[in-house]
């Protein structure tokens, strides 16, 4: 069984293998379809229309399957690689090794937000940006420069989401008040929740619909994925997913999710509830 680890606990060799698998998948042309798919759902997910990837209960199962597909592609390059997670409540400094040149690389420069060091710097020639919001062909970051979001989410913000007694609630969108899903996705409480806050704090591509252009996307979402499992363990009597019965425009427990249903693959939220079918986290009890 594959184990997903905290990125801070990876060995030097594991860090290198993960980075090399990303670069090789990109070189083979297998990376950018994930950017395209994410953007397609970002563009179509609306508060009052059909929504699957974001602003809806299926945010968590949708991204769980999205990450699984991606992880399997990385494993076709190197079977030993798994997605690491980034606990941004702990590794929260710009000088943290997560942003070192042997791993994700550092901040974008002031002038144009271009990332200048590490494996994904444009100058290295191995990380051109194909799905662009604007003409800039390089990876962009503006870490810590957002006036509204100068800091990463704290452990208290994450704890507030984990403490939610139920998974989600009507109207099942960005205005849902207190369920785990919208607290962790982040629109609740004036858009202060962990997932959205990290997207804004990293900035550059991460603040756009094409956020998977930045590999930090996978480490963020792996942590969010882990939080869903942590929340389930914390609330064993609460339904792990809601709604159970179909509701207009959203995906209920046993309904198939796009884009997989478009490819003849049936993936429902119910299928995605237990991560241990697919992988374990290094914090799971043995």
């Amino acid at each position: 069984m594959a184990v997903r680890k905290n990125q801070a606990k990876l060995t030097k060799a594991e860090r290198r293998d993960f980075v090399e698998a990303l670069l090789e998948l990109k070189r083979r042309g297998g990376y950018d379809k994930y950017v395209e798919t994410h953007d397609r759902f970002v563009m179509s997910d609306l508060d009052d229309q059909e929504r699957t990837g974001h602003v809806s209960p299926s945010f968590l199962p949708w991204h769980r399957q999205f990450l699984l597909d991606f992880e399997r592609d990385l494993q076709s390059v190197n079977p030993a690689v798994t997605l690491p997670y980034w606990d941004f409540t702990v590794n929260r400094s710009l000088n943290d090794p997560v942003f070192a040149p042997d791993f994700l690389g550092g901040n974008g420069r002031e002038r144009d937000a271009q990332v200048m060091d590490g494996p994904f710097a444009y100058g290295g020639g191995r990380w051109p940006i194909y799905f662009k919001v604007d003409e800039r062909p390089f990876l962009m970051r503006e870490m810590g420069r957002s006036k509204t979001t100068p800091q990463l989410p704290t452990a208290a913000t994450v704890e507030a989401a984990l403490a939610a007694p139920y998974y989600d609630e009507a109207p099942w969108n960005s205005t849902s008040k207190a369920g785990f899903r919208n607290l962790v996705e982040g629109w609740a409480n004036g858009n202060t929740g962990p997932h959205n806050t990290v997207h804004r704090w990293v900035g550059g591509h991460m603040n756009t619909g094409m956020s998977p252009n930045d590999p930090v996307f996978w480490l963020l979402h792996c942590f969010i994925d882990k939080l869903w499992s942590d929340w389930q363990r914390r609330h064993p009597k609460a339904p792990a997913y809601l709604p159970v019965e179909p509701v207009k425009d959203i995906v209920a427990l046993n309904q198939p999710m796009k884009p997989w249903s478009e490819k003849g693959q049936r993936v429902t939220p119910a299928d995605m509830i237990d991560h241990r079918k697919f992988y374990s986290y290094d914090t799971d009890a043995a």
Binding site: E36, D47, K132
Partner: protein
């Protein structure tokens, strides 16, 4: 891989061309609460056309038969469409996707700041 970029460009252009409709429910809800928004009106959107940080920003009212991405206004930076959408009681764009702004005008200005002089594609 330039195929991908081309498709992306076509996708954006088509989306903007299709953006033609009356204000939907989300827009009305937003307009009702938009006391903080200098560019909203009680009945929908106010168009704008001005220079902001050296870039021409435009909000053109749209009207038509409706559709998934018709929100009553289409916005442009130097003539290129910026895809925006309502979120909660505010607005987001493809550039500022995880940050909510009070109005189409404000989200367009935020895009200009993020662009650093680059053109939208």
């Amino acid at each position: 891989m330039s195929d991908l970029t081309r498709r992306r460009v076509l996708g954006r252009t088509a989306a903007a061309a299709a953006a033609i409709v009356l204000a939907g429910p989300a827009v009305s809800a937003y307009a009702a609460e938009s006391g903080h928004d200098h560019h909203g009106t009680g009945s929908g959107h106010r168009p704008f056309d001005e220079i902001y940080e050296g870039r021409r920003i435009e909000g053109r009212l749209t009207s038509g038969s409706g559709g998934h991405h018709d929100f009553g206004i289409a916005v442009f930076v130097d003539g290129r469409p910026l895809h925006i959408m309502p979120r909660g009681d505010g607005w987001i764009s493809v550039i500022n996707h995880y940050e909510v702004f009070a109005s189409p005008y404000e989200v367009t200005r935020a895009a200009v700041r993020a662009l650093r002089g680059a053109n939208l594609v």
